[in-house]
Amino acid sequence: MAIERDARLREAQSWGDFHRFVIDAPAVGREARPGQFVMVRVSDGTAPLLRRPLGIHDADGNGFELFFKVAGRGTEILSQKKVGDRLDVLGPLGRGFTIPAPAEGTAVWLVGGGRGIAPLFFLARRLAEAKARPVVFYGGRTSADIPIRGRFERAGIELICSTDDGSFGFAGLVTALVSRELDKSRPAIVYACGPDPMMKALAAITARHGVPAEFSLESVMGCGIGACWGCVHRIRGAGGDDWVKICEEGPVFPGERILWP
C-alpha cells in the first residue's frame, strides 16, 4: 500500500472506449497480486473530486497496467492522458483472487464480461506461471467489446470468446457459454468479473454445478482503504449477514458469501 504520486504513463493503447495503460510505478507493481486494485487520481482539481478504482490488469517490478472503459467524466479525463504524463495512484488495495495450492495441472476458468476482463489477464498469467491450466471466457455485447483477445493469445492462454450479437465467437451471453461448458467438464474453480447481472447469473450456475467460484465486486468507492464505509455489499459473514466493505475485505469474494441484490 503506497501512494505513488510520480507514477508515469509509459505506454497507452486504445480501442474506441477501451484503453490500456502501462504505468511506471515500482512500489505498486512490486506488491500487486491479481484481483487487487488501485485508486487513481484523474485531476488535480476538485471536479472530479475522488479517485477512481481500477483493477490491476498486469504487474511486474517496474509498474502495472490498467485496462478500462470510459464510463463517465473521470475515466474520460484519464483516457486523455498522454504518454509521459504524471499519474497519482494509491495501491495496491484490497485482497485478490485465491490461487489454488498446489495449482499445478489444475483446471481453472476465468470469466470476464466487458471491462471486467481487466483483472483476469494478470490472474491468468499468474495461474499459468503456477502451472495451472487457465481457460478464459471473454464476453461482450459485440466484437468491439472484447478488444484484448490477442493479448491472451500472445500470452499462450486458452481463450473462448462470446458476443451477445454473435459478431465473434459463441453467439449469446458468456454465462450461457460457461453453462454449456460446465455440462461437459468441471474446473477446480471459476473466477469472474463483470457486470452484476452476469456475475449473479454465474453465481447461480456455478452453485448448481457445485463448482467453487470467486467474484470481483464493484461499488462506488470513496476511499479504497476501508475508511468511509461507502463501498459495502451484503456478504454472509461470521456474525450474520452484514454490509461489508468490499475495498478492504474484497473486492473478491467466494460465491457462497455474496448476497446478490
Binding site: M1, I3, R41, T46, A47, P48, L49, L50, R51, L90, S219, V220, M221, G222, C223, I225, G226, A227, C228, W229, G230, C231, V232, H233, D242, W243
Partner: protein, 310 residues
C-alpha cells in the same frame, strides 16, 4: 522575517484541551484512525476524531451510499459502526498508542443512548474529549436531528455534559436558519466547544432510472463545494459567541485551514480530503507550518479570528 518551518509554534489550546497543532481529522472520514497508519504519521496530527459511535454495532444504510457531485460528495452511510464495546476492546488500545489526541464522535438514537455511550467511554482511558454528533442527516427521516432546533440541542448537551467526566464538543448542523442560535443553545447548556459544520442535506437523481442515486434518498453533502457556506457559519459563530469553535467543511489544503482559523476557528477538522489523499491531514499541517514560516508568523494561534471586516 521568514522563519524555519520547525520554529513555528503550532500548539493550540482550546482551554479544555491542548493540541500539538490545530488540525484534527473529521469524524467518519478517517475511519477509526488505524486505517491510515500506512499513509501518515498519526502523531503529526493535532488529533483524530473517530467515526461516530452508537452504543451497539449498527448496520447503516443500504447502498449506494456515496455519490460524487461537482466538487462535492454526498454520503448516506448511516453511521454503520462497531459499537462502544468493540471500539474499547479492539480499537482504543492501539489508538491511544498513536501519540495523538483521540476524540470520540458520540451518537445516539435518543438522549439516553448518547449518555450511555459517554458513561461507557468514561470508564476507558486514552480519550481526550467527546464530540457530540447531534447533526447527522443520515439517520432519521429527511435529516431530522437534535441540532435543527435550540431546545433539543440544549437538552441533549446538558444531559451529556452532566453525565461526562470529559470535555464535550458539540457538532452542529448547517441545515438551519440561524447557526448562531443553535451554537448559543449548546453554549448555554455548557458545551466546551462547538464543531461545525456537519454535512448539508442533499440528493442526487439518476435520470435514466428516475430513482434517487442514494439508497437512503437523501444524504449529506461535504467537500470543497460547501466550504464557502461553512466558512461563513464559522465566522458568524466565532464573531458572536465566546465558545471555542472547531471549523470544517471542504478543507483540502493548508490555505483552506488557515482561512478557517482567520475566520475565527481555534482548530479545524479535515474531512473528505482524506478520501482523496489518505495523507491529506498531515499535509495540511505541513502546509500551515510552511505558510507561517514564510510569513514570519511565529505562532499559528496568533492568526485565530484576525479577519478584518470593514
Amino acid at each position: 522575517m521568514a522563519l524555519t518551518a520547525g520554529s513555528v509554534d503550532l500548539t493550540t489550546d482550546l482551554g479544555f484541551l491542548k493540541l500539538r497543532n490545530p488540525v484534527l481529522t473529521a469524524s467518519g472520514t478517517f475511519g477509526y484512525g488505524l486505517e491510515f497508519g500506512p499513509y501518515l504519521d498519526l502523531a503529526r496530527l493535532g488529533g483524530i476524531v473517530v467515526k461516530g459511535l452508537y452504543y451497539r454495532p449498527r448496520g447503516g444504510n443500504p447502498p449506494p451510499r456515496l455519490v460524487e457531485t461537482p466538487s462535492g460528495l454526498i454520503n448516506a452511510i448511516g453511521l454503520q459502526g462497531v459499537g462502544v464495546e468493540a471500539f474499547a476492546a479492539k480499537v482504543l488500545p492501539e489508538l491511544r498508542r498513536a501519540g495523538t489526541a483521540v476524540v470520540v464522535n458520540v451518537c445516539g438514537a435518543d438522549d439516553d443512548e448518547y449518555a450511555a455511550v459517554v458513561e461507557f467511554l468514561d470508564r476507558q482511558e486514552g480519550i481526550a474529549a467527546y464530540e457530540l454528533n447531534i447533526s447527522c442527516p443520515n439517520v432519521k427521516k429527511e435529516g431530522a436531528c437534535p441540532a435543527l432546533a435550540p431546545r433539543p440541542t440544549y437538552d441533549l448537551v446538558k444531559r451529556v455534559k452532566a453525565a461526562s467526566r470529559r470535555p464535550i464538543i458539540t457538532k452542529l448542523s448547517p441545515n438551519v436558519t440561524s447557526i448562531v442560535e443553535i451554537a448559543q443553545a449548546a453554549a448555554e447548556a455548557g458545551t466546551d466547544a462547538v464543531a461545525l459544520v456537519n454535512t448539508f442535506l442533499a440528493m442526487a437523481v439518476d435520470l435514466e432510472t428516475r430513482r434517487p442515486k442514494l439508497g437512503n434518498v437523501y444524504g449529506g453533502l461535504s467537500g470543497p463545494a460547501i466550504k464557502p457556506i461553512a466558512l461563513r457559519m464559522v465566522h458568524q459563530v466565532a464573531s458572536r459567541l465566546d465558545v471555542p469553535v472547531i471549523g470544517m467543511g471542504g478543507i483540502m489544503t493548508g490555505v483552506d485551514a488557515l482561512e478557517f482559523l482567520v475566520a475565527g476557528a481555534a482548530a479545524v477538522e479535515v474531512g473528505t480530503a482524506s478520501f482523496v489523499d489518505p495523507d491529506a491531514a498531515a499535509r495540511v499541517v505541513d502546509e500551515i507550518e510552511a505558510w507561517c514560516a514564510a510569513r514570519g508568523v511565529a505562532a499559528v494561534r496568533d492568526l485565530v479570528g484576525t479577519l478584518r471586516t470593514p
